[in-house]
């Protein structure tokens, strides 16, 4: 059961991803576990924006973590990282 904090984080993340998604894509209609790059919702440049969002909003430092940023392909994966490593 997600906590209210996690609900807020999820809403905020989806809202941010919507701003960097390809035109015409509705992220709310895509399942949480779907690979957003494979379904064509995001382009390769979006990864840079996701990294910056996680660094700035959640204080995640990829230099310290043994995480492949390219594994951040779905809303679920990103939420998992936030829950685990947010500073």
């Amino acid at each position: 059961m997600p906590t209210p904090d996690q609900d807020n984080q999820l809403r905020e993340l989806v809202a941010h991803l919507q701003t960097i998604a390809r035109p015409g894509v509705n992220l709310a209609a895509i399942p949480d576990g779907a690979n957003l790059f494979e379904v064509g919702a995001l382009d390769s440049l979006a990864l840079v924006e996701i990294i910056m969002f996680l660094e700035q909003r959640h204080n995640i430092d990829f230099r310290r973590l043994a995480v492949d940023p390219k594994s951040l392909t779905s809303v679920r994966e990103i939420m998992h990282l936030i829950a685990r490593d947010a500073g």
């Binding site: 035109p23 494979e38 064509g40 440049l45 840079v48 990294i51 230099r63 043994a66 940023p69």
Partner: protein
């Protein structure tokens, strides 16, 4: 990954058809026939024999699917032996007058095979479990690997160090990267042997198509019969598409460049426009605008056809074994931005530059201003990364030159990559701005973008032509003369 890939281009009816066991034999026979065609006509592959061992491996895998890994590993080892013997004796392997006189060469090739496989095994064992990795490998494993490879290439007289290792460098880099992320702890050594098969991007081309076991296993369709049918059908289609691009390349060669050695020259009634290739346009300082401009665009199209045919053969073969991986080349000439073109031109090459240069640089520059951070990361990747990749790939050739010749070679590569990096950076910034405009571009705007992107790549390709003897300044002078 492109949206087109995920759109599942194969129709459900065709998948159902392929799914039926008897039809799969038809698919297998078609694939073998196409591989034989490519062995004869494919660019860079023709006459090398490297596709032939894939045919029996495919046939055996069709009857013993559970033994796929073992079959592929065995094929990889046999091909490594073949590749090393060919290197020792020469390309005309099957027509040696006296094999006995080459007994020592064969023995040496077998010894090298054992050394390479044992070396790989030692590396695998030492990095497999993250907790047991030496801290230097854990922190700087890829950097250390490249330092060792460069040091060996520069100091060792053996061609295995100057040719084979630099080509294998990126496969090994992916292996180390997966190991530090803990992705290979549960794998066996044999899982990592099969991507040593030369046409899959090792010992032949340095780009590791299909990356590594971690990436391939994520795209493994073998355990879902319908997905496997879809994957193999997609592989067969790529092999057929590669044949179409080869024929189109031959037609272009004959129609415009007058290649008299081409079979189609006779079919086309021995007529041709006899246009010069771009290298000849540069070397003879041809500034006749229609000829020069046509040569610029034709060179880009011709190169795209050849690269697409090669990429489709490799990805098509890998898909036939049940790994539904992304295309290496995916309609680059229809790209509407410079960055999109770069991703579609040679996907797995772009991934190397992205994985080992762009992302590490971008993450390391966290404290830098956002715009400057992006700028530095792009140049670290598209400029420095590309030059390093090229030097490592050509290190054997460069070692045989004096320093002036080396500088002359690297100068053009540097100019080309500087222009490329600048284009990519500008394209990234424009793409970020374009996101604010939610409406998709009109067909006319998209057509203009496609033309603009093709023109950019056609022009910078002037500094990427290897056959011309001109230096970068002379090429710039030629270009200024052309547009003035």
């Amino acid at each position: 990954m492109s949206p087109a890939h995920s759109a599942q281009r194969e129709s459900p009816d065709a998948v159902d058809y392929t799914y039926a066991a008897t039809k799969r034999l038809l698919l297998l026979a078609s694939a073998c026939a196409l591989l034989l065609w490519h062995e004869k006509y494919a660019p860079w592959i023709s006459g090398t024999g490297i596709l032939l061992p894939i045919i029996p491996a495919l046939v055996i895998t069709a009857f013993f699917p559970k033994a796929r890994q073992q079959i592929l590993s065995g094929t990889a080892v046999l091909m490594l032996v073949y590749f090393l013997i060919r290197k020792e004796i020469g390309p005309d392997l099957l027509h040696q007058p006296t094999w006995a006189s080459h007994a020592f060469d064969v023995l040496r090739a077998l010894t090298w095979t054992a050394v390479v496989i044992l070396g790989l095994y030692a590396l695998f064992i030492s990095i497999r479990v993250p907790q047991r990795q030496p801290s230097l490998i854990k922190r700087h494993g890829v950097l250390l690997l490249h330092f060792v490879i460069c040091a060996m290439a520069l100091t060792t007289p053996f061609w295995v160090a100057t040719v084979l290792l630099p080509v294998m460098a990126w496969r090994l880099s992916y292996l180390i990267r997966s190991a530090t992320l803990g992705d290979i702890a549960a794998t066996k050594f044999s899982d990592h042997l099969f991507y040593l098969i030369p046409p899959f991007g090792s010992a032949f081309v340095p780009t590791p198509i299909g990356k590594n076991w971690t990436y391939l296993s994520r795209h493994d369709a073998q355990y879902h019969p319908r997905e496997l049918a879809r994957c193999q059908l997609a592989g067969l289609k790529l092999l057929a598409l590669a044949a179409a691009w080869e024929i189109a390349g031959m037609a272009l060669d004959v129609t415009f460049f007058g290649d008299t050695h081409n079979l189609m020259y006779i079919l086309f009634g021995r007529s041709s426009l006899e246009l010069p290739r771009l290298s000849a346009v540069l070397d003879h300082n041809i500034t006749n605008a229609p000829v020069a401009v046509l040569s610029l665009y034709l060179e880009l199209i011709y190169t795209a056809l050849r690269i697409a045919a090669f990429g489709h053969i490799v990805v098509g073969s890998i898909r036939l074994f049940g790994f539904h991986i992304q295309r290496h080349v995916d309609k680059p000439l229809l790209s509407t931005s410079i960055i999109e073109f770069w991703s579609r031109w040679t996907f797995y090459y772009k991934e190397i530059i992205n994985d080992f240069f762009f992302l590490p640089a971008f993450m390391a520059l966290r404290s830098v201003d956002v715009r400057l951070r992006l700028f530095l990361a792009v140049y670290a990747a598209a400029f420095f990364g590309n030059i390093y990749f090229w030097i490592l790939w050509n290190i054997n050739k460069l070692l045989g030159m004096d320093w002036r010749a080396i500088v002359a070679q690297v100068e053009c590569v540097a100019v080309y990559n500087f222009l490329l990096a600048t284009g990519i950076y500008v394209s990234m910034v424009r793409q970020q701005r374009a996101r604010k405009d939610a409406s998709p571009p009109s067909p006319w705007a998209a057509a203009r973008s496609i033309f603009g992107v093709a023109t950019f790549y056609a022009v910078i390709h002037v500094w990427n032509i290897r056959d011309s003897s001109l230096g970068p300044i002379e090429r710039l002078q030629w270009f200024i003369h052309l547009i003035w």
